[in-house]
Amino acid sequence: MAPSTSSSVTLNINGEKHTLSVDHRTTLLDALRERLDLTGTKKGCDHGQCGACTVLVDGRRTVSCLQLAVASDEREITTVEGLADGDRLHPVQQAFLDLDGFQCGYCTPGQICSAIAVIEEHAAGWPSAVTEDVRPEAGPPPLTPEEIRERMSGNLCRCSAYVQIVQAVARAADENRTETEETAA
């Protein structure tokens, strides 16, 4: 008997379970785009070099072109389609829209997913390559433009909306911090 070249997987995407049979060679990115009609996640290079396919897998940012669909079985996946609350945009989406953090829009879903993770990683105290004091007791460094640029560098934007993207991420991070503080109070 010829070895099987496909398997059944269950992908939990934006809170909805999808069970499908996939060719073992199918990436998570192609499963989203070609099989589930979730085309918001973009294919820019298929090599993990541009970041356009960034999604959140179990809350962590992941380039979906470098992860096979069969390796995503039973994982919690959030794509750009799952960020807004009905008509209410996610604060990061709203900041990108208001501050024109995009032009052609093709890198945008990846930039937005990455930015959401950057804000969470920073709030959780993760340092970056440009963080001056990386001792755990130092706490999260200020989320300066330099920190945002470093942390967002996995996401290329050839239209070069970088200046506006950094402003959008900073605004969304400020809003997130204010909301967190208000909740804590």
Partner: protein, 711 residues
């Protein structure tokens, strides 16, 4: 038919006011569908197989084993593909690039030439089969090396004359108090837009429909009509959202091969290029080797200006990168000579890329001006102001506005140029040497004939239809503002539909001409519609539609030198022990016509300036002499500026409306890159005292130059 009249539209408020993109919500939620994302029943998937040799003939295409693979439907190649008509001049005034007119003969003129298309039921099956396809070649030696000294370099007329000459260059140089005579090079650069080229072709009710990602549906529909010898009414091309273009998204192998396969199989076929395939199939900016000779009197006034540029083209298509053209606009001299020359090599065909000619040409010319300023002991801005021409240096025509001096004055004030110490290599901050630089920018302001329709709907809204393309420029939004003002209504009463060749002929998104061309047509139709509607009258259920055509109005424009201008400023930090160059800040002030939407216009200009940083410091496609192909043709091997490379960049503008354009527009897509690389390079000299005349200014070049070695 109506023709446009000139005269500036009365301002009713939308034009000139910041407006977020009308399709912005769709783009930030992932709802906007690009060419490869629109579902079709019975869709088959094509995958291109490219040549592995740089020159030769195809001896055989071993289709048998591949056709037996799972899901494979057909393999198209030069032995069985439909014949194409390529003997025509297209809408842009050039014949089709044979790299796009695929599978017509057994010649292989460059590495990565399309040799076959494998079509299968799924993308995985098509890819596996294309990679398994064996093609045998008769290999021939290839010639891929561009140098300024090649004897086969020859001047070529592209969209401008190949050569211009007045006066006696040698005599004026000999009589000059200060002379600059230097060679400058720029490398092969790629558009690298984020969305790879993608097209789906299908026959529907006797009509060919192509869903594509391109910079002009009229353009692509016209070329496919001619290539496949079809009736123009039988071809429809749609392109609603485009993930960047920059000159590369025209007629390419993906559309042509998809149409072939859809015709052969009689079912929808999608062809998407891979990132690596894009590096040989979709054009690029040729490397240039330029020599600039300047001669000036002690007062800095130019007596001689000689700018020669040599670029490469393929053996199958001639493309001239007119880098010396910028000198024909910027500076006059008693003796003035320019030439744009081409060498044919066994390389892929280059094409238009953001700021074609001006981007590499301004690097050489504006760097040479900086060198002349140093030799004359004159401030670089003052030197430029002393050489402001009254009329076109070559054409003798008057300028339709030349507000370069205003840009420099405003830029110098905001950048803090006054009191700058001109001496190089004297400012240090820790491990960094600091410097500032400036350069001038210009880009032609043109317009292409376009048609538009505007409909007053019975519900009180308005629908604009025009075969425009929004490749990220914000054109869709700008046109909404223009239409609202021309109609005298609020922007939410206007819906602009674009990207469909069925809307009638329109110009391309290219040459910074898109928004100006389309706004002109929309303004003409909207004004006539407004005149036609009786106040208080009722509108029939089908609405009232007016069509416009700007051909006659554009043809009636007087001959003038029409350009946008700008002044670029950069501050850099250079670590001469590691070779690292960091741009700390940039400022660009532009005179670029009336700004329709300040929000998106700023993005265009800042984006162009960022391309200038990328050009100055990062971008370089390196061709391997042994194989004739590129090293690492992908987004890791070809680095474009990323977040961490880009500092705070400011762009702003001076008042500069074009009185002969109905809206006052000049075009802003390209002027932002022009001069930007020169400003960075001039700042690197100011920081270190070393002139870098070869781009990009890589760390190894900085290190070797500091060590005194010639690079």
């Amino acid at each position: 038919m109506t023709t446009a009249t000139t005269g500036v539209t009365p301002i009713t408020g939308a034009v000139g006011t910041a407006h977020t993109r009308v399709e912005g919500r769709a783009k930030v939620t992932g709802a906007a569908r690009y060419a490869g994302e629109i579902p079709f029943a019975e869709l088959a998937h094509g995958w291109l197989a490219l040549s592995t040799v740089s020159r030769g003939r195809i001896l055989s295409v071993e289709t048998g084993p591949v056709l037996a693979m799972p899901g494979v439907l057909t393999v198209l190649h030069h032995g069985n593909a439909p014949r194409l008509d390529t003997d025509y001049i297209g809408m842009l005034g050039v014949p089709p690039d044979p790299t796009a007119a695929v599978f017509q003969n057994d010649r292989v003129p460059h590495a990565g030439w399309p040799v076959a298309l494998v079509v299968a039921e799924t993308p995985e099956q098509a890819r596996e089969a294309a990679e398994a396809l064996v093609v045998t070649y008769e290999r021939e030696p290839h010639d891929i090396e561009l140098t300024a000294g090649r004897p086969d370099a020859h001047p070529v007329d592209g969209h401008m004359p190949g050569m211009t000459e007045k006066g006696d260059i040698e005599a004026e140089l000999a009589a000059s108090a200060h002379v600059v005579d230097e060679e400058y090079t720029t490398p092969e650069e790629h558009h690298a837009m984020m969305e790879p080229h993608a097209a789906t072709a299908l026959w529907d009710g006797g009509r060919l429909e192509v869903v594509d990602s391109n910079q002009g549906t009229t353009w692509v529909a016209d070329e496919l009509t001619r290539m496949f010898s079809l009736d123009p009414s039988a071809v429809r091309v749609r392109s609603e959202h485009i993930g960047g273009g920059f000159g590369s998204k025209g007629v390419r192998a993906h559309q042509v091969s998809a149409v072939m396969a859809a015709t052969v199989l009689q079912r929808p076929v999608r062809v998407v290029l891979t990132r690596r395939q894009m590096f040989s199939l979709t054009g690029y900016r040729s490397p240039t080797a330029q020599r600039v000779r300047l001669g000036a009197g002690t007062d800095g006034r130019l007596r001689a200006l000689d700018h020669r540029s040599v670029n490469q083209t393929s053996t199958v298509w001639e493309f001239v990168e007119p880098s010396a053209g910028v000198a024909r606009v910027m500076y006059d001299a008693d003796a003035h000579r320019t030439s744009n020359e081409v060498v044919r090599l066994d390389v892929p065909s280059p094409t238009w890329m953001r700021g074609p000619g001006e981007a590499p040409g301004s690097f050489a010319l504006e760097a040479a001006l900086d060198e002349l300023a140093e030799r004359c002991g004159i401030d670089p801005i003052e030197l430029r102001l002393r050489n402001e021409p009254e009329r076109g240096p070559v054409s003798g025509l008057p300028f339709a506005g030349r507000n370069l001096a205003a840009c420099f004055r405003e830029g110098a004030r905001r950048f803090g140029w006054a009191g700058r110490d001109p001496r190089p290599g004297t400012r240090r901050e820790g491990r960094w040497l600091l410097g500032t630089g400036t350069a001038a920018a210009s880009f032609p302001a043109g317009a292409l004939p376009s048609t538009a329709s505007v409909t007053a709907e019975a519900d009180g809204t308005h629908t604009v239809r025009i075969a425009a393309a929004d490749i990220g420029t914000g054109a869709r939004t700008a046109l909404t503002l223009v239409a609202a003002d021309a109609l005298g209504v609020a922007t939410d009463r206007v819906r602009v539909r674009i990207g469909d060749s069925d809307f009638g002929p329109a110009g391309i998104a290219g040459g910074s001409m898109g928004t100006r061309s389309w706004a002109w047509a929309i303004t003409a139709a909207a004004r006539e519609l407004r005149d036609r509607l009786v106040p208080g009258g009722t509108i029939p259920p089908e609405g009232v539609t007016v069509r416009s055509d700007t051909t006659a109005a554009l043809g009636a424009l007087a001959q003038k030198e029409r350009h946008s201008f700008g002044a670029q400023f950069a501050e850099v930090a250079v670590d001469v022990t590691t070779g690292e160059v960091r741009v700390r800040r940039m400022l660009g002030i532009f005179a670029a016509g009336r700004i329709v939407n300040p929000l998106t216009a700023r993005g265009q200009l800042v984006g162009g300036m960022t391309w200038g940083i990328s050009m100055a410091l990062h971008e370089e496609a390196v061709r391997d002499r042994a194989s004739g192909g590129l090293y690492g043709p992908d987004l890791a091997g070809y680095h474009v500026a990323g977040h961490a490379d880009v500092p705070e960049i400011e762009a702003d503008w001076v008042d500069d409306p074009d009185p002969e354009d109905p809206v006052g527009i000049k075009g802003i897509g390209e002027v932002g890159i022009v001069g930007a690389a020169a400003a960075v390079a001039n700042a690197v000299w100011h920081a270190t005292g070393v002139r870098h005349r070869n781009l990009p200014i890589r760390p190894d070049r900085v290190l070797r130059a500091q060590g005194g070695a010639r690079v």
